[in-house]
């Protein structure tokens, strides 16, 4: 190992590594905290994924192989050692809900302390009543109320008797969540520790939403095998979930509809001519595509309209299902909200137009932002989850160091403790 690497390795845990193991590709985003506390992205790496279906491990051996390759290549390319990774979790088993709970303020003066907030949130999240095989992934605070007063974002320091908390909980099946980390830790044998496990849809939202966007936003991550969504209202995450439909379905639909046998060919056709709106002007347009047959090359011709119809049907249906789910719970608060599309499928022609018409809202591609650095290939919608993981870890670390206080406090604690 080079000297540079050896020097860097000393500080390796300063790097924040986001690992997004997707159905079609494995993406890593690497960032670090600048001296002034801001986040700077230093690199990224993408490799083709294997053994993953609909966001979950299907073939452990092949998945491990691909993940191991991603690690080695990233370490070599960037000259860093990966020690801690932030892991994205997804899968059709993930569900969420918003729950309320109450706690009595303990102090005599009635001043709300951090402990009361915890108690109220615990009481709320316990309402989720998860079964034996389900595990909580996130418990996020939404709003608080003191004795039925106006909603508060942070009640600490306010005076009152009973504190009501509303929390948003994201949970999943414990065994299926562990599957991926098991793959990482046991099988690869890499000396890798898992920092935070974050729901992919939440990570994507963190990456692309500016604080003012969070007043009303629907983030839809259209991935290769699974679609995640997160709904932000008045600054808080209010709804989230997954739907096991992704780009792989588009490819499959094209294969069935146009009689294409090789998957690669259908993928290429999707990239070349994929559009999700049926354009009247394209009615008689044709797409020719060289195909390797037994005896030399042969041109195959498809109607562009057919391709558009197949893709439109699929994406329209997918967005409609999401819309129905979201509107069923939050229809009244979504006025003026924006739909952000991330993930590889957000590049499809006409995707934002379709989203706009299905949701009847403004729609646009979600581009990861809120960090420094020249890493332009991180500012792409498909990198949202990986970047979001880094941002999550960054915020977490800042919060922890703030709680720990300045260095002399920590030193004092170390000495006296």
């Amino acid at each position: 190992m080079s000297l540079v690497n050896a020097i860097l390795k000393r500080n390796r845990s300063d790097f924040l590594v986001g690992l997004d193991i997707g159905t079609s590709s494995i993406k890593l985003a690497i960032g670090e905290t600048c001296p002034d506390g801001s986040l700077s992205m230093v690199g990224s790496h993408v490799v083709e994924s294997q053994g993953i279906s609909k966001g979950e491990v299907q073939n452990q051996e092949r998945a491990c192989e691909a993940i191991a390759r991603a690690f080695t290549e990233t370490e070599n390319n960037l000259g860093i050692g990966i020690e801690v990774v932030e892991l994205a979790i997804t899968g059709s088993h993930i569900a969420s809900g918003t729950y309320t709970g109450h706690a009595n303020v303990q102090s005599e003066e009635g001043e709300v302390a951090e402990a009361d907030v915890r108690a109220a949130m615990d009481s709320a999240s316990s309402c989720a009543q998860l079964g034996g095989d389900r595990a909580m992934i996130h418990t996020m605070r939404c709003t608080f109320e003191l004795d039925g007063g106006p909603p508060l974002t942070n009640p600490v320091g306010h005076i009152g008797g009973t504190l009501k908390a509303e929390v948003h909980c994201i949970h999943g099946q414990a065994t299926r969540i562990q599957n991926l980390s098991h793959c990482l830790c046991e099988k690869i044998g890499a000396n890798v520790e898992i920092g935070n496990s974050v729901f992919s849809g939440f990570a994507s939202a963190l990456a692309v939403l500016e604080p003012e966007d969070k007043l009303g936003a629907i983030v839809i991550d259209l991935g290769g095998g699974i679609t995640e969504y997160a709904v932000y209202l008045r600054g808080m995450l209010r709804q989230s979930g997954t739907l096991g439909v992704g780009g792989g379905h588009l490819v499959n639909d094209l294969m069935v509809g146009l009689g294409i046998r090789q998957r690669r060919r259908a993928e290429k056709l999707l990239q070349k001519a994929g559009g999700v709106m049926v354009e009247p002007g394209d009615r008689d347009k044709e797409v020719s595509f060289a195909s390797q047959e037994f005896l030399g090359d042969r041109e195959k011709v498809y109607y562009l309209e057919d391709i558009q119809r197949i893709l439109h049907a699929r994406m329209h249906e997918t967005l409609r299902i999401l819309r129905d789910r979201i509107f069923a719970r939050n229809a009244n608060d979504l006025n003026g909200a924006t739909v952000f599309l991330t993930g590889g499928c957000s590049h499809l022609k006409g995707m934002t137009t379709l989203a706009q018409s299905v949701f009847d809202m403004h729609a646009k591609q979600g581009i990861p932002g809120g960090f420094e650095g020249q890493e332009e290939h991180l500012r792409k919608p498909e990198m949202a989850t990986a970047v979001g993981l880094v941002k999550y870890a960054h915020v977490q670390r800042q919060y922890e160091s703030k709680r720990a206080g300045p260095w002399w406090n920590r030193m004092w604690r170390a000495v006296s403790g």
Partner: protein, 416 residues
Amino acid sequence: MKPKNFMAGGEEASRPASARRAPSEKRVRIKVVGVGGAGVNAIDRLVEDGFDQVGLLALNTDAQALANCMVADKLQIGERITHGLGAGGDPDVGRQAALEDAEAIADAVRGYDLLFLAAGLGGGTGTGASAVVARTARDQGTLVLALVTLPFSHEGAYRDRVARGGLLALQDAADAVICIPNDKLYDLAGADASVQQGFAPTDAFLSGGVRKIWRMLGTTGLINIDFADLRAVLKRRGGETLVGFGDGEGPDKVEKALESALASPLLNDSETLQRAECALVAVTHGSDFKMAQFRELMKRVSEKFGPQTACKQGPIVDENFQDRISLLIVASTGKSVLPASGRAGARVADGEIQTSTLNPSSVSVPFTGKGKIRQGVLNLNEVFRGSFEGAERTVVDGEDLDLPTFIRRKIQLRQR
């Protein structure tokens, strides 16, 4: 006979699970909603017939029309937009009106298992608001069965187009839509019928249908037909729903009942019956009904269906039915005759009616584009599952989303 229960109970937040049948005496909660002028007229007929076992609701934009109707439970929508003056034949106004009062509608249809929606398509309120009402109810877990009429052919192409657009939106929103062209009803009433009499069969049909389904669900049969069966037949089939019923009395009661059931304007389409994928046949009879007669009846009914039709039979004993039987047939096809969204360039988004893209010929006449037409219908079981082979299926509302959408939506492609 075991105690019968169709619904798991009010505390069950969502859809009833047929597997879970607690022994209680809860009945299926039914609501009948009339939307727009024609819809409200239809439920007025139920009031006239003294049928008060179900919840009735009249829903209209027109305050005057609502004031004249006999139903106790009324809901005026879109006051802010229409000022109580009706939608003026504009389905967009009807839709906006319903969206404006979406909460009130949601409250009104909350807590029912089965919702009948009656409307006349072609006007403003019935065409525009129906889909919104249906969706609102379905989102709450209610099975929505819509009974709608299409305008007379003499009402012109515009109304027809509006109606077809509304029908597409409604098919998207409701679980099942039974659609009667007014022309057929006119044939039924006869050429000499007055204008008023010409509309009576619609009202009679709705009234009769509601009562018969109510009886089928509410009585314990020798072979049970329950809400779960009805749901299985109607639930989001994406095809046509056929309903017919008839009564018979005296020695040749079987003959009479069959005749009138099959002559019903919604069932006299033998070609569609042949294509039916599943059917429910409920026979209400007295204790004097002979097994041989029952078998004869079922044989005759089965003949009408195709070989692939899954037919569920349910004899229901009712002591009031001495020497009298009543027959109810509900059938559903897998194939849609009306174009699914996407075909003929029509898009139906959120119950929105895009009349401009829908021309009447594209609705009734199959797609006539350039190139060879390939019907997008494959045997679903043999469809290539590609990379989803072995993966957990993504099933939403009973639909396997791993199968290509264009096949499930019966969207036609031009070439291979």
